[in-house]
């Protein structure tokens, strides 16, 4: 039994509470076109501006994704035509962005907005730590590639597709077969492939936590 399946057994204890369906299973991996936003240091204030954080539920953030880059003066009838999310030639469930994606505020609303808009994968050459966790906790896969590979994707035509294979931890440019490896720890990988979440796991080890509390006094 390999370590991943052992882990899988140890956390396969409950059907959890409404997390998204696992998206990355299957032999062939996940194939999609992509939307390129070739800007570095995209902070979570751009992904979802603070004025949209007043909700008390997780729903409906997608329509305000990149709000101030999408519209002039917050006017939905006046889209900024040069922003890729407004350009009909781009489509797909993969967002490709410049390095240091998701820096700044810890707002998970950024991950909710990306997921609600329909993105399942974000590709960048570097991710901010808090965003990476938030994305993973919402079934959005952060795929960190080399700067060189990222630039190759940016140079592709808008019709091209990418394949993300979580099992093998690879991302491939389908037209050329060029591929890059990405890191993810086997715990998170198992969670994503099976739709488990961290809270289920933590609740399952509550006895250990209580024991820890007693021992430290």
């Amino acid at each position: 039994m390999n370590s991943t399946s052992k882990l899988s057994n140890s956390i396969k204890h409950s059907q959890n509470s409404g997390n998204p369906e696992p998206s990355f299973g299957g032999q062939g991996g996940f194939v999609s076109r992509f939307v390129p936003v070739n800007i570095e240091n995209i902070d979570t204030d751009q992904i979802i501006p603070a004025r949209f954080l007043k909700a008390t539920t997780k729903e409906g953030f997608g329509k305000n994704l990149f709000r101030d880059w999408k519209y002039e003066n917050d006017d939905e009838s006046n889209p900024k035509v040069d922003f890729p999310l407004n350009q009909s030639q781009y489509a797909g469930e993969i967002l490709v962005a410049g390095k240091n994606f998701g820096c700044g505020s810890s707002r998970e609303h950024a991950a909710w907005a990306l997921a609600d808009y329909g993105f399942k994968v974000v590709v960048s050459s570097f991710f901010a730590d808090i965003f990476r966790n938030n994305a993973l906790n919402n079934g959005v896969l952060p795929v960190q590639v080399s700067e060189n590979f990222l630039q190759k994707i940016f140079s592709l035509s808008n019709e091209e597709t990418l394949t993300v294979n979580l099992e093998k931890q690879t991302i491939t440019i389908n037209s050329t077969g060029e591929s890059d490896f990405f890191e993810i720890n086997s715990y998170k990988k198992t969670c994503l492939l099976n739709g488990y979440d961290d809270i289920d796991y933590l609740l399952s080890i509550k006895e250990d936590i209580e024991k820890f509390e007693t021992q430290r006094g």
Binding site: L53, A55, T57, K99, S105, R107, I130, L202, I209
Partner: protein, 472 residues
């Protein structure tokens, strides 16, 4: 084996470690506020469980609250609903809430330390990236997302991978007119807004040691702006002195026991860091940002970089940033017209910040066409300012002392900077639209912000008479 401060604390909080996976990290203190907690409570309710250790959770309302007329119901409906939801959730889950109207209410990262909740050696989290502030006490403190807020509420634990370790040493003495905000903006300008991503950052060196607790908090606060998972400074006599006697700090026998433990919390002499930086305090001048990430900063007497002179990290974004800011490559920042001055936020809204500004502006008046907002970090800071007569100095200078909250740092309440206007701000982020859609933010120290308030343009605070002259 020699250990770093971070490792000593981290190892004491590991419940267990998953093979090729994260560790289960026990969390001592959990701060919550109205914006990033409601969905976590809903998650708990959906699972039919209660908060596991409510006594380890402290709540306040800060992000959304108005900074005028706090005694009246919040006008904006969604903000009001969020604050009311926090009250309801705290009641249902037996969580102590320092809400609107409470004498301890304030910005979460201001009230935690001033109440003595924040202590050395702790693990501290909050659904807010500036939780790194609390690391100034020699604790591991970091911001988390709402799913993680729910995890901590449910189990008092988080799944975390151990970050790499960085030490930033600043030795020497600060020059006149240079304060802790300048240190951190200087470090940011050198290592960039992503320079510490993946790292826990320990700040060390004689220049750091000589700082007050409030000044140390300013530095750790902005460690997230370098991408740092957390920032921390080893506790010392300054730390112990600050904590002693605070409302929720350990007392009596418990104090002595805590103190003995806290004194063991420092990086051993031979401890190894994955990365080290060294800076000289003498090289730092009053700093200001010109761009749209906090790493885009320069000395106030310097010129805005050009594509030839800027660091590699910000090269591709320079034109976009400057177009947004309405500024030119290669031009001086000094003399740039300012429309608003915001002195506040979890970075710089504590009593020492207000004292510094008051001492500087005493007897001076603000420029006619500048609006100046002073937003204290907490009710306690506000009360202290009034007690010391600082409010009168501000009034005479034409500054408006408002009520506590996050305010124009992120413009979630009414305190927004209008599109196209320039705001010199003591907050932590100059991102596009951060202070309001289209707003242009220049980050600086309270002293540099105060100087601009007087002249109406970006000004070297050292060029104006300053009765205070003390370092912060």
């Amino acid at each position: 084996m020699a250990k770093t401060l971070f490792e000593k604390i981290w190892e004491k909080h590991i419940v267990k470690t998953i093979d090729d996976g994260p560790s289960v990290l026990y969390i001592d203190r959990h701060f919550i506020h109205e914006v990033t907690s409601p969905q976590a409570f809903t998650g708990l309710n959906n699972r039919g469980i209660k908060v596991f250790r409510p006594k380890q959770v402290v709540a306040t309302a800060d992000h959304n609250v108005p900074t005028l007329n706090q005694h009246l119901p919040i006008k904006e409906e969604l903000s009001r609903k969020q604050v009311e939801t926090l009250v309801k959730n705290c009641t249902e889950h037996n969580i102590e809430l320092f809400g609107l109207g409470h004498p301890f209410q304030g910005i979460v990262h201001v009230i935690g330390p001033e109440l003595g909740v924040t202590q050395p050696g702790m693990t501290i989290v909050c659904g807010d990236s500036h939780t790194s502030t609390h690391g100034a006490f020699g604790s591991i403190a970091f911001g988390i997302g709402t799913s993680e807020v729910e995890m901590v509420m449910a189990t008092q634990c988080l799944l975390q991978s151990k970050p790499k370790l960085m030490r930033i040493t600043v030795d020497g003495e600060l020059s006149k007119g240079v304060v802790s905000k300048d240190i951190v903006l200087y470090i940011l300008s050198k290592i960039t807004a992503s320079g510490a991503t993946g790292y826990a950052v320990e700040f060390a060196g004689s220049a750091i040691r000589s700082l007050s607790m409030e000044a140390r908090m300013t530095i750790c606060n902005m460690s997230i702006e370098m991408g740092g998972r957390c920032g921390l400074i080893a506790a010392d006599e300054t730390t112990f002195e600050y904590i002693k006697g605070k409302p929720l700090s350990p007392k009596g026998e418990h104090w002595e026991k805590s103190l003995t433990y806290w004194k063991t919390l420092y990086s051993d002499k031979d401890a190894v860091f994955d990365k080290e930086y060294h800076f000289k305090a003498e090289d730092i001048e009053p700093m200001i940002t010109y761009g749209t990430n906090p790493g885009m900063g320069i000395g106030v007497t310097e010129t805005i970089p050009t594509t030839e002179t800027i660091n590699e990290s910000d090269k591709s974004g320079l034109s976009k940033s400057l177009a947004y800011m309405g500024l030119q490559q290669g031009s001086a920042i000094k003399g740039q017209k300012i429309d608003y001055v915001f002195i506040g936020s979890c970075t710089n809204s504590r009593i020492e910040d207000l004292r510094l500004v008051a001492a500087f502006v005493k007897g001076k008046k603000k420029a006619d066409d500048v609006e100046v907002w002073i937003v204290p970090g907490s009710k306690q800071v506000e009360a202290q300012a009034v007690k010391e007569g600082i409010d009168k100095i501000f009034e005479e200078a034409g500054f408006m002392l408002r009520q506590p909250g996050c305010s124009a740092c992120l413009g979630m309440n009414e305190d927004k900077i209008p599109a196209g206007k320039y705001c010199i701000s003591t907050s932590n982020r100059n991102f596009e639209g951060r202070q309001g859609a289209g707003a242009r933010t220049l980050l600086a120290s309270p002293l540099t912000a105060a100087a601009a308030a007087i002249t109406g343009v970006v000004t070297d605070p050292r060029s104006l008479p300053n009765p205070s002259e003390g370092g912060l």
